[in-house]
């Protein structure tokens, strides 16, 4: 393993532990803090995987806005605490999760190795086309921006529609006088 791969594995392990803490901690405030740590770990993973745009979005939106939403929610509702630090293990869920993980683990071996130069996505004609033509066709140096705003502009338009719909839905759900 190269030193980059070891750093990546360490940050991924940190993130997975953060996620496990977020689920297992009993106090919801503790869980939210663990979730924010998990989000920052994942943002670092995106940097290590050469995806700085995704990292910025994850840090601002995932670790930032989502955490604020969770905090506002528990400020408006309850924060069940208790003497125990961790939740009890729910064995029926463990069984369901074991089935899913078993099925997924069976497929991991047939995936290409992480970072392999001959992996299907890296050698796909779509990837090659974007990397070869994005700058000359759109004049944008950042290929991610070029694909987001030019080649797949309609996707981004759909995304904006989803955000507007979500905003309207939140306002409708929380409108005070509509409460019965």
């Amino acid at each position: 393993m190269t030193s980059e791969a070891i750093v990546l594995a360490a940050v991924l392990t940190f993130s997975a532990l953060g996620a496990a803490a977020a689920i297992l901690l009993r106090d919801v405030l503790n869980a939210i803090i663990a979730f924010a740590a998990f989000s920052f770990g994942i943002a670092t993973v995106w940097v290590l995987l050469a995806a700085p745009d995704v990292a910025l979005t994850e840090a601002a939106v995932g670790a930032g806005i989502t955490t604020v939403f969770f905090l506002v929610t528990i400020a408006k509702t309850v924060r069940p605490g208790g003497e125990r630090l961790f939740e009890r293990i729910e064995w029926r869920s463990v069984a369901v999760v074991a089935i899913l993980s078993g099925a997924l683990l069976a497929t991991v071996g047939s995936l290409p190795a992480v970072g392999a130069a001959d992996a299907p996505v890296a050698t796909s004609p779509v990837t090659e086309y974007y990397l070869a033509n994005a700058y000359s066709e759109t004049g944008v140096e950042n290929a991610v921006t070029a694909v987001l705003a030019a080649y797949r502009g309609f996707d981004t338009f759909g995304e904006a529609t989803v955000v507007i719909s979500a905003g309207v839905a939140v306002l409708l759900v929380l409108r005070q006088e509509a409460y019965v």
Partner: protein, 119 residues
């Protein structure tokens, strides 16, 4: 198995995140923690996509800044969209949680079910 740990570590992390997320959604009685589980599950899928576009020693896809190989920009774009959509979903889900709390006075799934059977 040890080989797999060295070459496919990201994909094993994907499985771990999906497992943790699914456990959170199904096991936790608290509605807020179910939504945290949903977010963890979602990040597992993001990790799968971004890993698939990565090449060893790749530069970020900023054309002209750095040299080939570049990481594939397409998974990055798809995941950018998915992150924003995921936050929208989280916001709607949390708004519903606030409404449920106003109606039932609890966020515990079992307690809500009990109130509903007596109604």
């Amino acid at each position: 198995m040890i080989d797999l740990l060295a070459t496919h570590f990201n994909y094993l992390a994907v499985v771990a995140l999906l497992a943790i997320g699914l456990y959170g959604v199904t096991a936790s009685p608290n509605l807020v923690k179910k939504i945290i589980g949903l977010n963890v599950f979602q990040v597992g899928i993001f990790l799968f996509f971004v890993t698939s576009g990565f090449v060893d020693g790749a530069a970020p896809p900023l054309l002209g800044h750095g040299s080939a190989p570049y990481a594939s920009p397409l998974p990055h774009v798809l995941i950018l969209t998915a992150i924003v959509v995921g936050v929208s979903l989280t916001a709607v889900a949390l708004a519903l949680v606030v409404r449920i709390y106003d109606a039932y006075g609890t966020l515990d799934e079992d307690a809500i079910e009990e109130v509903r059977t007596y109604d």
